[in-house]
Amino acid sequence: MKQLIDISKELFESKKVGYIIGYAEDKFKRVKPFVAHSSSDAERFVFSNYSVNNLAVYLTRLLKPKESKIGIVAKGCDIKSIIALIQENQIKREDVIIIGVNCNGVVNQIDEQFSKENTAIKCKYCQVRTPAHYDYLVGEIKDVDLPEDKNFAIMQKLESMNAEERWNFWEAEFEKCVKCYACRQVCPLCYCEQCIVDKSMPRWIDSSATVKGNFAWNMIRAFHLSGRCIGCNECERACPADIPLSLLNRKMGMVAMNEFNYRHGTDINQPTLIGNYNVNDKEDFIM
């Protein structure tokens, strides 16, 4: 990734950035998020099919810019998160330098070899292999063998079930949830300083790992992200209990698309879906 390293070094040398968030290999050759503070650090930058992490999450937690700008290496889906964060006043566009990367798909199971079967399902529908917004662009687009969408069959099955069957399906899934909140921690748009689940007065959502609390937690998280989730599916990847959270995100994304023709994070000037209204929003369900 010489192009990426050169640009990063140039940004450091011209003092345009204080640090750059990107990916690097550890001593076991695993690709991980890495923060470079200098040109020599930047030598370690890589980008490959194993660069799964959505680095935009680091823009919200610890690394709010103080005196200098932040650089970030991001693929198309991650950049949607960055645009979403800018629209929601978490970061200013001028404070972040986006090094966009032409992406050729990322792995599904990070411990295994990248292949057609082991590609993230989101990559099948990706329209931003060349990102839509960036300050610099690196990498080359190559042909990619798109994976099969295994979730499509599951979604169809769910649509054909009745309410009780669906409840049983999700009960079985949410039984596995241990309330580790990895889904929340890895999500760039879950930046609330005090999450609703942590509020005890009143206790809307049980924080302990009861099935009732798990239902409430996952429902409310999906609801708070409706119209905001950009579909990076990091939550599902991070879930240690293998709960198919991407199905929930996908459903909410479909509602945003079908009812409102809206995709969050694609147009920085578009008014957000939540927070605005249309006098013609449908109300066939209202008596």
């Binding site: 809307w204 099935v211 239902f215 999906a222 609801f223 459903k251 008596m287």
Partner: protein
């Protein structure tokens, strides 16, 4: 032992300016209705968070009714528009997760629609009575074994 006939428990979240006043009008007009509904007053439907609805179901409601001012008539101009957009998402989410979204009812009832309010409430109660009790959470509540005084 005789099994008691199932009587649905309905929680109604109503906006202060339109529906609550409409319900008052139904009262002043002495229009009779069934006793199953309990009203919770909020200033505007915009104040209604879907967590309220989930909590109501968790606590044993068999049906939930949400009612407010007609679009363009909201006392606070736009509260019901924002609420409506929320509901569009929330209903689909409930359905997807397996909570029958037809147990969640919405209506626009203005301050002058006392008769409509009676029709809405009775309609909801009858409809939920037919569906039967909402059992999903009853089992989950037992799991936590909340001791009842």
């Amino acid at each position: 032992m005789e099994t008691e006939k199932f009587e649905p428990k309905i929680v109604a979240f109503v906006c202060n300016w339109c529906t609550y006043t409409g319900a008052d009008l139904a009262g002043t007009s002495r229009l009779k209705q069934q006793t199953n509904a309990r009203l919770i007053r909020v200033p505007c439907t915009g104040r209604i968070d879907p967590v309220f609805i989930i909590k109501a179901f968790e606590k044993g409601a068999d049906g939930v009714l949400v009612s407010g001012c007609h679009p363009n008539d909201c006392h606070y101009n736009t509260g019901n528009f924002h609420a409506r957009r929320r509901w569009i998402f929330f209903r689909q989410l409930l359905d997807f997760v397996g909570i029958d979204s037809s147990r969640l009812y919405f209506s626009w009832v203005s301050a002058s629609e006392g008769k409509k309010w009676v029709d809405v409430v009775d309609g909801v109660i009858n409809s939920v009575r037919e569906k039967g009790p909402f059992n999903g959470y009853k089992k989950l509540n037992k799991e936590i074994e909340i001791p009842v005084k």
